[in-house]
Amino acid sequence: MKRQTRGALRVPLLILALVFTACTFGGVLSGGFNTLFGSIAEQTAAAAAAWNRPSDDALLSENRRLTEENSRLKAALAGYAEAKDENEKLWRFYDMKKDTPALSLKPAAVLRRGADDDCGAFTLGVGEADGVSVNDPVVTENGLIGRVTRVDAAACSVSTVLSPDLSVSVTDRQSGGSGVLSGTAALADSGRTAVTLLSGSSKMKTGDFLYTSGAGGVYPKNLFVGTITEVSQERVLAKPCEDIGAVTFAAVITDFSGKGVPHLAD
């Protein structure tokens, strides 16, 4: 009887042992899986992106909105050009060079969005083999959208700026205010995130642009993060630089000047 029980338990215990082994070597398994099936995932992702493509009306409306924004930015650029000119004169006067952080980028397509991924998280098709490591910032051509939270040989998981897992130190250049940008589940559903722990928030106003402060050395300084959409006494809400749910291509910043060097924001 005892022998029979032992025999019956042998297979379930073996299966459990195999599962625990798979968990222990999850990174290797995940790397192998993504290397083998990465191209299939890319094809399905491309097909899904084509299926998700916006309608002509949506594109026209987006075009109109962008044209308006373009004129607004051109007006802002006139002021910026003056400031830049003045800035250059000052730098020349002091014979100093502005330190521009050099960014090493690894672009890749979005491979997957898992059924259990919250707040817009996704998997990108670059991994350790490309020099990607945990906590590397993830950007699109418009600015910062997230951070690498897990990496294997061929792919990496990204948490976005909509997630409460992420805290990004940001500054509002127009008002000089600063704070920490971090999301919640409810705000993520409306495509927005919140700025808390504010200093100088009273001067912040709707439409101001938020940039990374570079404090902590996790994110490069001066990356565009989003636009303030609502200012109240309790909190400031912001819209990220991208529609996170529609991102199909992004890049990981594998290196930048000041990486890992904690310093205070200006």
Partner: protein, 164 residues
């Protein structure tokens, strides 16, 4: 308890379903979807022996984790144990009928998603909102997806029982 080994074509059909559902589950779509591999593992548990159900649960669990963003671990262990428990209940304690599986698969989907929420999301701000508006729909969708899969696989595996 069905103990006959699966026919090669039945194994092939199960693997084909697994591959197809894995592909569907990995599509980068930005809305709540069912965990199709969980639905598949739960729906076939009653038609397989304890060891086969547990093994298939382990395969689906590992695949589910590989297709997610959180690494191999929680899902694999949870689905292996869930399939073992379901198989034990369906073959040894309860009557192996559609209605039994209907309620058990709802419980399994709730346990799978609920445990993930409890361990990884419950302490985050607005975790209640996340549960009601995202995890609850996922539980229901995973449960609903198990029903057609149950119907398909009952046909596939019944032939084995009757030797056809």
């Amino acid at each position: 308890m069905p103990t006959e080994p699966l026919l090669p074509r039945q194994i092939a059909a199960l693997l084909a379903q697994t591959a197809l559902l894995a592909l569907l589950q990995s599509l980068p779509l930005p809305f709540d979807r069912p965990q199709l591999l969980v639905s598949l593992a739960v729906s076939v548990t009653g038609m397989l022996s304890l060891n086969a159900a547990m093994g298939f649960g382990a395969v689906c669990g590992v695949l589910t984790d590989l297709l997610g963003s959180n690494g191999v671990g929680c899902g694999a262990v949870a689905l292996t144990l869930l399939c073992a428990a379901l198989s034990h209940l369906l073959h040894g304690v309860l009557q192996n009928r559609f209605l039994t599986l209907l309620s058990l698969s709802l419980g399994a989907a709730a346990l799978f998603h609920g445990s993930y929420w409890l361990f990884f999301r419950a302490l985050q701000p607005e975790s209640g909102y996340l549960f009601f508006f995202h995890y609850l729909p996922r539980i229901l969708l995973t449960w609903l997806a198990a029903l057609p899969l149950y119907a398909v696989n009952t046909r596939l595996l019944r032939r084995r029982k009757h030797g056809r």
